[in-house]
């Protein structure tokens, strides 16, 4: 296969950035969601409101934060509120249009596990846990998820319900009294997925250039379903790639720079 001029990771971030709208109020998860949201802000959505759970509202960082509470976020925010205010007024209050999450494990109904692999009381791998996600998943008007496809991350059954997606599918959210839309988009390094309108199972609606149906199935733990109409995702433009690479390069330099010497010296 010829070199497409971009990596599948870059395709994922750029495809995820394109779904963000200029008037979105987005609660941003760290990692892949944070990169996508900031590429959106630096390309087609300059007025997007990005909110991180550290209480920083309307951030415009020059470098991607390593953590949700980097100084860069506070320095560039419209305002910084306390964490209780963040979760009570802004999230629970219904102000967030999109919660953008990553995941360690996701199932076909968009339920996410970031808590534990194995038994909760005797775990094989103890993961960090949910943080803000359990309530982001139910209080944001919609949830987008982005993650790299693999047999370990896209699983038939998640081992712990850290945050609720569509449960067992259908109207499970409504039956629990959840009024928001839940996961409506999944963007991976190979494809864009949307839930079936009735069953709520994620189905592929667009395949990235240079990805194939075989690649999508090989890296997914359930039998992949496709929409009747499957598009090909538009390849990253030169401008999108340049902005993403600049951002990544600035961020990586800032995270691993001279500070290392300062720490180890003492």
């Amino acid at each position: 296969m010829s070199d497409p001029g971009f990596t599948s990771d870059e395709m994922m971030t750029i495809a995820a950035s394109r779904v963000m709208k200029n008037d979105d109020i987005c609660f941003v998860g760290i990692g892949a969601p944070s990169a996508a949201c900031n590429v959106a802000r630096l390309t087609h959505a300059p007025d997007i409101t990005l909110i991180y759970e550290s209480g920083t509202i309307g951030v415009r960082p020059d470098i991607l934060p390593l953590s949700i509470g980097d100084g860069e976020l506070c320095d560039t925010a419209l305002t910084t509120v306390s964490v209780p205010e963040m979760f009570r007024y802004w999230l629970q209050g219904g102000r967030i249009t999109v919660g953008f999450l990553g995941a360690a494990e996701i199932d076909r109904f968009g339920n996410i596990n970031t808590t534990v692999i194995g038994d909760y009381d005797a775990p094989k791998v103890r993961l960090p846990g949910g943080g803000g996600a359990p309530e982001i998943a139910t209080s944001s008007q919609a949830i987008y998820v982005t993650l790299k496809q693999s047999i370990r991350s896209m699983v038939k059954e998640i081992q712990f319900y850290t945050s609720f997606g569509h449960g067992v599918g259908g109207d499970h959210r409504q039956r629990l009294g959840i009024e928001t839309n839940g996961p409506v988009l999944l963007i991976t390094d190979l494809a864009i997925w949307k839930p079936d309108p009735v069953t709520k199972e994620f189905t592929v609606v667009s395949i990235h250039p240079h990805a194939t149906r075989e690649m999508i199935q090989e890296t997914c733990g359930w039998a992949v379903k496709y929409s009747d109409m499957v598009d090909t995702t538009m390849a990253p433009t030169k401008k999108e790639l340049a902005i993403l690479r600049d951002l990544k390069q600035r961020s990586s330099a800032a995270h691993t720079g001279d500070a290392m010497k300062a720490t180890m010296a003492t």
Binding site: I30, G31, E53, S54, G55, T56, P65, L66, S67, I68, G69, D70, G71, C74, T80, V81, S82, V83, P84, F87, R88, Q92, T115, Y120, D121, P123, K124, V125, R126, L127, P128, G129, G130, G131, G132, A133, P134, E135, T138, F160, Y161, T162, S163, F164, H172, L176, G177, A254, H255, T256, G257, D258, A259, M260, K261, A262, T263, M264, A265, T266
Partner: protein, 285 residues
């Protein structure tokens, strides 16, 4: 100055005791490293550690066998990955078994606020469909007497003692917290005793009407340790040492490397080393 201002050694010895329930709070910013390291040097035992985002300092305290129980909502090295000492304790009981009580951020933020408000519990819309409700008996629900809606309820957090780090104290002991203020005001007002470590002591706080202030009469003791939040940061004073967080992942990966690092950098160190650690990280004022 009154005796409210003490050395860090004395503040920890006077306020933190074996078996206490203690919060060393901070939300990525203003993490009270100097205070935690002093607690490690004093070898406290059987602590119940509370924190929304237990990061490297709780990884260190757990690895040194000081914790009986951890109450938390996100146990990770922020932006880097897992906490390897915590994992070793939970998965392999090394150096000892630890009990965990796990919540969501919403729950803990609300529970601190309830503690500061003098309420027995917090009520919020949360844990819908979430697995934590099945494994944590402190997550319950109540029915709203007005609307009939089922809401989540968790007990208020009331620490015996809260340690926080802040930018400034004036000479009376009023405290100013700036930048990402996290949940520190609530954690302080919820506690029986409060110790604040500050970057500097000034004549007047010279701030604005809506600044986050803890009046001196809400604070038990104050210690001046410049750089005492490193490798976290103090907004306006020095930046976050992200490289140190990346490096911690390697140190914590191995028990022997961890113990050797702790001996050299914590047990044999003093609070004065923190000002050297931030030498190249200072923000131009």
């Amino acid at each position: 100055m009154t005796e409210k201002f003490t050395s860090l050694n004395k503040a920890v010895a006077q306020n933190l005791h074996d078996g206490d329930t203690v919060a060393f709070e901070g939300f990525t910013h203003l993490i009270p490293y100097a205070a935690a390291h002093e607690a490690i040097r004093q070898g406290l035992k059987d602590l119940t550690l509370i924190r929304m985002t237990p990061d490297v300092i709780y990884d260190q305290m757990i690895g040194m066998g000081m914790a009986r129980k951890l109450v938390f909502s996100y146990a990770g090295n922020p932006g880097v990955g897992l906490l390897r000492r915590l994992r070793d304790a939970v998965e392999m009981s090394w150096p000892k078994t630890i009990e965990i009580e796990e919540h969501s951020h919403s729950a803990m933020a609300n529970a601190y606020e309830a503690g500061a408000s003098g309420l027995p519990m917090a009520v919020f819309r949360g844990y819908l469909g979430a697995g934590l409700a099945d494994v944590n008996s402190n997550i319950k629900s109540v029915t709203c007497p007005f609307s009939g809606e089922t809401l989540a309820a968790v007990p208020a957090i009331r620490p015996d003692v809260t340690f926080i780090h802040a930018q400034k104290a004036d000479k009376k002991g009023n405290i100013l917290i700036e930048g990402i203020v996290g949940v520190q005001k609530e954690a302080a007002l919820a506690a029986q005793r409060v110790v604040v470590i500050v970057e500097e002591v000034v004549d007047t706080l010279d701030t604005h009407a809506n600044a986050t202030i803890l009046p001196h009469w809400t604070v038990t003791n104050i210690c001046h340790v410049a750089g005492g939040s490193h490798p976290s940061y103090a907004h306006g004073h020095y930046i976050r040492d992200n490289a140190a967080y990346l490096e911690w992942d390697k140190i914590a990966a191995d028990r022997k490397v961890f113990l050797a690092w702790m001996a050299e950098n914590v047990l044999q160190a003093t609070p004065e080393v923190f000002s050297q650690r931030i030498a190249t990280l200072k923000v131009a004022s």
